[in-house]
Symmetry: C2
Subunit: 210 residues, 2 copies
């Protein structure tokens, strides 16, 4: 196995069998560790040991633990990369349009929305996955975007964003309601983009402690 | 069992054991029929036969099939009653406020949100329940509110409304994300009320057929 090859974090493609096997072994070990201990307590050292590889190889394939987590739980896009790009520079209307396009892109590609729906199903049905997700978003994703979010509690903004995304995937792919299930991806993006933008950067009635 | 007693559709309360048993038998038969055949093909006659009671008794306890369905699948509020009341007379801001109060009311009462979350779980995991729900909302609920919805496809508006409601319940009760899980009911209502109002009556980019 060559360590000269550039680091890849995308899908396997034209990779030699040995490399693909090592990569899969690391992902399987990571999935198990994240489920067993949650995100915070899972170490790259432990994951490497479980997979029977050197820890450097884990970093070579996946970079930081955050990125390994994204791959291990099957998120099709890395929120640490995608969310800052969507939120950087632009008012609520611009961000709504970017979110509409992002949603359309995910829904147009079966590979992307199938992985995302699988991650939602796992989060909803496996308490261990839910725990890891509950640690990952506030601890890892929030610091990368908190300065780009609207006023108030950024964790709540991400919660609300996630609630609409989860509900959309449930309605379109899990429950299968008509016409949402058959609607073209762009129309779905246009419908939910402004909701997602409002949750992330817009003003809404914030908790007042009453 | 007296047939003089006024019709009740609420929760059992102070009802004699025989009545409660009959009512439960009808609900169990209805659940099974709706799951087996879907909403449209389930008949009150067949449900009564399965429960071993006269069909008139089903009507006495539950009224029309629509209301029996609402009780059988465990919806805590009847959308045929609640939605028209929320949508009747009032602009988008007024309706958003009513929706915020309605959501707060449901979240404040464990009995209500537990039943609603159970219905969401059943819809997401049991294809037969999903099918009955997919028939019930466009065929029964939509005609009762279509004249009160915004322009465009009313079914899609109900789909989007449902998607945010499902995502909210998933995030707050099934996945359990913080702070959404611990946030006071009124603050949650204030956060999602405007989203729900926009989906039902507001303007959003409608499908353009591109």
């Amino acid at each position: 196995m060559s360590t000269e090859q550039p680091r890849e974090r995308g899908r396997p493609s034209g990779r030699r069998a040995g490399e693909s096997g090592t990569r899969d072994a690391i992902l399987a070990a990571a999935r198990q560790r994240f489920a067993d201990t949650g995100y915070d307590r899972a170490s790259l050292r432990g994951i490497a040991a479980d997979a029977g590889v050197d820890q450097k190889l884990v970093a070579h394939y996946f970079g930081a633990k955050q990125h390994l987590f994204v791959e291990a739980v099957g998120l099709p896009l890395d929120p640490l990369v995608v969310l800052p790009a969507i939120l950087e520079g632009g008012d609520e209307a611009v961000i709504a349009e970017r979110l509409a396009q992002g949603i359309a892109l995910v829904l147009e590609q079966p590979e992307l929305h199938q992985r995302l729906t699988a991650a939602v199903r796992a989060t909803a049905t496996e308490p261990a996955v839910a725990r890891a997700m509950r640690e990952f978003f506030p601890d890892q994703v929030l610091p990368a975007v908190s300065h780009l979010l609207g006023p108030g509690d950024g964790r709540l903004r991400l919660n609300l964003f996630g609630s609409q995304l989860v509900g959309l995937l449930m309605g379109r792919y899990v429950i299968g309601v008509d016409p949402l299930t058959n609607l073209e991806a762009k129309a779905v993006g246009a419908a939910v983009g402004p909701t997602l933008a409002r949750y992330l950067v817009g003003s809404y009635a914030l908790p007042t402690g009453n």
